[in-house]
């Protein structure tokens, strides 16, 4: 198990290097710069001298290969550079925002698991019932609704019509502010989990080993607990891992909508102002998050299903 874990963690390194290279190249070739973004509102006329000074100050006047070498050596020292905009270390800028993103991602995932998995189980145990139909219609809707629109809808009902919850903001970390963005972000994984769980239960419930267990006189509770749940969990854990891993990326829209102070909204602002070090750092953090969650899921996966370790 330890060798498997180490092997999986080592596989992350070349992936990270490839991603770092890709991010660097993309943001080096796209037109526009931090200096030009300062004039984008039409309020400030171009000052070639100031732009040259800015480019010099941020090392943008150096050749591309020198900048890449600086970037990679910086990464090796866990130095993501300095933000053009705030003139603070990128790590500090991200550190100030990442905890809010984690809070939102965890809350959304907990909501999705707590509601989605039981719903999928219940629906599968009574296939064709009204509950099953309602659950599946809800799941399909959850997958098809644009998150932005759903967020606005929730804002409208729970903040404006009912007045139960605030419509935006962080509120110093109060749970009341977390509910609407977490539900909005959690609906897609919830729907996916409900569908996956239902499909998994229906498929595994018809397997020979389940019939064998029943024919040997094993109680229904034991069949479900020992054979059904354990096998379905392989599917569910995979779905949770994939969804949880991609949640930081999905949160970009939600954070912007609800004015949630996470790295998603930081990324949007940094892209528009061409604060390249922050953009690169933020994307890298999102990628690292995705890779780590997936590696962790692989490890759990191997623990649940020993056959994985053989491959």
């Amino acid at each position: 198990m330890l060798r498997f874990t180490i092997r999986r963690l080592l596989q992350v390194i070349p992936t990270l290097f490839a991603v770092a290279l890709l991010i660097f190249v993309i943001f080096s070739v796209v037109p526009g710069s931090f200096a030009s973004s300062l004039m984008a509102d039409g309020r400030t006329a171009a000052d070639p001298e100031m732009m040259a000074r800015l480019n010099e100050q941020f090392g943008l006047d150096k050749p591309l290969y020198v900048r890449f070498a600086d970037y990679i050596t910086g990464l090796a020292r866990f130095d993501l550079g300095t933000s053009f905009r705030t003139r603070e270390p990128v790590l500090d800028v991200i550190n100030a925002r990442i905890w809010a993103s984690l809070e939102l991602a965890i809350a959304a995932m907990v909501f999705a698991i707590v509601v989605g998995v039981p719903l999928g189980f219940i629906a599968a145990l009574r296939p064709g019932s009204l509950l099953d139909s309602v659950t599946m219609i809800g799941a399909v809707s959850g997958l098809s609704l644009p998150q932005f629109w759903l967020g606005l809808l929730l804002m409208y009902f729970f903040a404006l019509v009912l007045g139960w919850l605030p419509s935006f903001g962080y509120g110093g970390g109060s749970w009341r502010y977390l509910i609407l963005p977490a539900i909005t972000l959690g609906v897609t994984p919830l729907a996916l989990l409900a569908r996956t769980t239902r499909a998994g239960v229906l498929e595994i419930a018809n397997e020979d080993f389940i019939r064998t267990a029943r024919s040997k006189g094993m109680s229904e509770a034991r069949v479900v607990r020992w054979h059904l749940v354990r096998n379905v969990m392989v599917l569910v854990v995979t779905t949770i891992g994939l969804q949880f891993g991609s949640m930081m990326g999905q949160a970009v829209v939600i954070e912007k909508l609800f004015s949630w102070p996470g790295i998603g909204s930081l990324l949007v602002d940094s892209v528009s102002i061409r604060d390249t070090p922050v953009v690169q750092g933020t994307i890298l953090v999102i990628v690292v998050w995705f890779l780590l969650i997936n590696t962790f899921v692989d490890i759990i996966y191997a623990a649940i299903d020993p056959r994985i370790k053989q491959t």
Binding site: R53, Y170, D269
Partner: protein, 532 residues
């Protein structure tokens, strides 16, 4: 005068704003003021930033030597009680306020002004405000490193400052009123803690910054204006999405909201919300600029034909939702040099066709218009004018770019035509430089307009000491620009702010409506409990 008229009109339109003037300001309470231009503040070190978004907290914490007077429509001394100019207008002497102190209790002196201005001008810092000091005596020596200080900034005594220019400014207040020319305590900018906990001369003290969420400030009891500020606290909250802002405003979670065209229509239609709208003609002109140096736009007739081909009234009504004023030239309505008799370019496609033919283009012309996604001066408008232009023989295509890309390619001259919204005030003389033939393209003369008549008028205006005569010359110069059509000027931005009925003291700030002098704001007893 014009701005006064506008201010009055805005107050009449707002209704309750007018009524509020009759009430005495009430002290106390909290205001939730929205910063609508993004999801974060870039920095609390306002010297480093040209961004309007960063001005929202900075305007509460800091003060500059001058401040914009929205009612008078001009800058006025703020940290000085008396300003005298030499006869040649090259030297200005300021008697500084003796009752102003920083939030840590340190008295304000001339040393703080000199320190702040040298910090902003320091070439190694590459701060956006450095250009404010481009004409101050001694700046070249300072920039080259041969002088440690700017000789044109001279302390006479603790509360007397002298600024000497090499070229007489129209009014130094236009540059020195900018929030990013704020006065810091001497030496403070080099203290790393200062950026996280800024100290200023403003009416509110910094309390906390929750990155990506809000900045909180509270009343500074030793502010130099007696009885001000009225409010105890301001939460400057970030809310960049217009739809979310709409919900939050209707839910009374925020006290003011900046409206886009879509919300403007909805708010006007609402009997209650329409009572509390503040409108002002901001100093931004939307236009399609042509490269005047290359065919076909090196021909004035072609440039004029472009304007005649477009039904601007229809665009304003259907797309901009009347959240703009039709343009009659470069200078906006709030400008003293705006010509009230001037008329917008007439819509006449047949005339446009004829003008193209007369200019040697009987088969019409092809043009690529570079534009961003902006809803009021971007691709939506370009897509709408393409069929109109086609009817007149102008085959236009849209070149979509991102805002920072537009700001890169236009000053570089890498365009045939572009659509943009550019600052066209409040310093009339300064913004008219954009059409002076000796101004470099990269500085703002993007179209490279060249007209001897304009140049002569502009040069006369620069030499004219009498403000009224100067304004008159600039008015004539503006008419020459409209006639020469370096751009098709299509509208001036109408900024609209919705405010809750309990909010009073808002100013019709034509330079940027959303930026308010917070010390003048107050809330009445009808505000919700959460604000009292």
């Amino acid at each position: 005068m014009m701005l006064k008229t506008l201010t009055l009109a805005a107050a009449l339109l707002a209704g309750t704003a007018g009524a509020a003037l009759a009430q005495d300001p009430q002290p106390g309470g909290t205001l939730n003021f929205v910063a609508p231009y993004g999801s974060s503040f870039g920095t609390l070190d306002i010297h480093t930033s040209p961004s309007t978004q960063d001005e929202f907290p900075a305007k509460a914490i800091h003060r500059s030597l001058y401040q914009w007077n929205s009612e008078e429509g001009k800058p006025e001394p703020e940290l000085a009680t008396e300003v005298t100019a030499s006869d040649d207008r090259l030297t200005y002497t300021y008697k500084l306020r003796e009752n102003a102190v920083f939030h840590d209790g340190t008295p304000f002196t001339a040393d703080d002004v000199i320190y702040s201005y040298e910090r902003i001008a320091e070439p190694a810092n590459a701060y956006p405000g450095a250009r404010y000091f481009a004409d101050v005596a001694g700046i070249d020596e300072f920039n080259s490193g041969s002088a440690e200080h700017i000789s044109g900034l001279r302390k006479i005594d603790d509360h007397t400052l002298e600024i000497t220019y090499t070229v007489a400014p129209t009014d130094p207040g236009y540059a020195l009123m900018q929030t990013n020319s704020a006065i810091y305590p001497s030496g403070a900018g080099e203290d790393p803690g200062f950026i996280q906990n800024p100290i200023g001369l403003g009416p509110f003290k910094f309390v906390e910054n929750v990155p990506g969420s809000r900045v909180v400030v509270e009343k500074f009891d030793d502010f130099y204006e007696d009885g001000k500020p009225y409010l105890d606290r301001i939460n400057v909250v970030l809310l960049g999405d217009a739809s979310a802002r709409d919900v939050a405003f209707r839910n009374q979670e925020i006290d003011v909201s900046v409206l886009g065209p879509t919300q403007y229509v909805a708010y006007q239609a609402d009997p209650e919300l329409s009572q509390n709208l503040l409108e002002v003609a901001e100093v931004y002109t939307r236009h399609v600029g042509f490269d005047n140096t290359k065919p076909p736009f090196d021909n004035k007739d072609v440039r004029q034909a472009f304007g005649h081909a477009i039904n601007n009234e229809l665009i304003l009504d259907k797309l901009v939702k009347n959240k703009a004023y039709p343009a009659t030239g470069w200078l906006p309505i709030s400008s003293p040099a705006y010509d009230e008799a001037a008329e917008p370019t007439t819509y006449d496609p047949e005339l446009a066709k004829q003008m193209l033919a007369d200019a040697g283009y009987p088969d019409g012309i092809d043009v690529a218009i570079t534009a961003t996604q902006n809803e009021s001066w971007g691709l939506t408008i370009v897509e709408a004018i393409i069929p109109m232009l086609r009817d007149a023989g102008i085959r236009a295509t849209a070149v979509p770019v991102e805002a920072s890309v537009l700001a890169e390619i236009v000053p570089a001259g890498d365009f045939e035509a572009f659509m943009w919204s550019n600052l066209s005030g409040p310093d009339d003389y300064e913004v008219m430089k954009c059409y002076y033939s000796k101004t470099p393209r990269s500085s703002c003369a993007y179209q490279q307009f060249s007209d001897p008549e304009f140049d002569a008028l502009f040069e006369q205006a620069g030499a004219e000491m009498d403000p009224e005569k100067k304004t008159d010359l600039l008015r004539q110069a503006n008419n020459v620009v409209q006639e020469g059509a370096p751009s098709w000027f299509f509208n001036y931005n109408k900024a609209v702010m919705a405010y809750q009925p309990w909010v009073h003291g808002l100013q019709a700030n034509a330079t940027e409506l959303a930026i308010q002098n917070y010390e003048d704001l107050w809330i009445d007893e009808t505000a919700p409990d959460s604000r009292r």
